[in-house]
Symmetry: C2
Subunit: 273 residues, 2 copies
């Protein structure tokens, strides 16, 4: 996203910018990317096991049904789960509320070499918190700068931050909620509260616009991902992740031992009994 004022109504939700094909080509492109993504992630993981300090944090935000879970399954699911740390942030617990809003976020940050994924994040503290007045106005105001300082520190300490807003239309959300009501295997994903939140659609849009505008920094920029097309959403996040990993360009670590010496140790030793 370019910096400056944000108008989400000007960003199409059902577009597929930068991709020429349709659904089947999009799915094939994601699958094809799988090997490269997995390779890059494994290199980063190897680096982390060998003294490297770098990591990647993927932040997924979006209205209910925008597809955070779908991205976890279809895109994040392409890499080795061993190197992934997913955290789903719910309404904060009493203990979490007794601390600064970033306390629980700090505890969920990826370690060296890991791909951390936030399904919702510290942004809820300036989104639902703003719309539903869960904190005083001046506290909400304070948080934008606190987030920028926090993310700057993250980036400076070696974590690449990839922030994605999964952008769906109100019509598409209605269709997806109705689909959950039509399918007993999807009832568990439905929450009557989602319809209440939907009543604040305009207020959420404004809160997103403000949050993106205030925290769309050079070090940790926002990406608004058109998400009415599920296949495009999954592909677009995959491409963002791939580009972030390519920029890191993680290399297989050099050995801190002499392979020839080790080979001899293995071959010369008595076979263990």
């Amino acid at each position: 996203m370019p910096t400056g004022p944000v108008d989400l109504t000007a960003i199409e939700t059902d577009a597929a910018p930068g991709f020429d094909g349709g659904k089947s080509e999009g799915k094939a492109a994601l699958a094809e990317m799988g090997d490269e993504l997995a390779d890059l992630q494994e290199r980063l993981f190897a680096e982390g096991r060998s003294g490297g300090r770098r990591s990647v944090l993927l932040v997924l935000q979006g209205m209910d049904t925008s597809g955070k879970g779908g991205v976890l399954r279809h895109t994040v699911g392409l890499v080795d789960p061993q190197g992934v740390r997913i955290t789903s942030f719910k309404a904060p617990s009493e203990e979490e509320r007794s601390h600064d809003f970033l306390w629980r976020i700090e505890r969920a940050l990826p370690g060296p070499g890991y791909l951390g994924v936030f399904d919702r994040s510290h942004y809820e503290d300036v989104l639902i918190a703003r719309v539903r007045h869960l904190a005083p106005d001046d506290e909400i105001e304070r948080r934008y700068e606190a987030i920028n300082d926090f993310e700057q520190r993250l980036v400076e300490s070696g974590t690449t931050v990839v922030k994605c807003m999964l952008h769906v239309s109100a019509d598409e959300q209605r269709e997806r909620l109705l689909a959950r009501l039509d399918d007993p295997t999807k009832y568990w994903k439905y929450n009557p509260g989602d319809v209440d939140e939907r009543g604040y659609w305009g207020a959420y849009r404004e809160a997103y616009e403000l949050a993106i505008e205030r925290t769309n920094t050079e070090l940790a920029p926002w990406h608004v991902v058109p998400s009415d097309k599920k296949w495009y959403r999954n592909l677009a996040v995959g491409l963002l992740l791939r580009d972030a990993l390519r920029d890191l360009d993680p290399q297989w670590p050099a050995p801190d031992f002499d392979p020839e010496v080790e080979r001899r140790r293995l071959l010369d030793a008595e076979p263990p009994a």
Copy 2:
């Protein structure tokens, strides 16, 4: 495993018990199982989101190179990463050592609906701890019963515990360590200390035999998985996981709302602006 004394030398490492085909059939069988595994896991996750308390804990133990990482990637990787919680236990930190050996284990247990996976586990505290005398003999002795009590409590509170010992031969381990030395993309997996541990092969075997014998309970039985064939190891753990999930037979949760009422709420509301 039947209960009673355990003789690991009597269990073939390169066999494929219960499976007729070879490598390509085995890989195909695992891939085919993917949909059922993913479906069962999603049902369990749905149950956990709807008030259910059940979960599954997969414990992976085995000598270096036995393939714990391979199982994570190829078998656990078949299900939605959103519902999986993997913990890799390393040598305990100073803080961890200052607590009872089960302290860090408790903190890593899967929540309701989750598939927890331990890459190494509390069993290290009666394996390397026994072989390398990291704790007094009477403390090691105490731990077997402590583990049984702990696992009994886990099972009684709704966690199915699937314990797998990935069983490789010393020859196969040598080949795998040599392969790591032949391939710069695998150097990071090689640790000269692995050769030192290999020198205690017989002591580890005895420690495994004792651990399995003492903790092979009806509630939390051990499975010794022949693991010289990687494809068989991945398939066998997949089958154990599938059987555990089938036994739980998780059902899609009933709605705690009236779908018809919700449908009307969605359709009757003004389209949000």
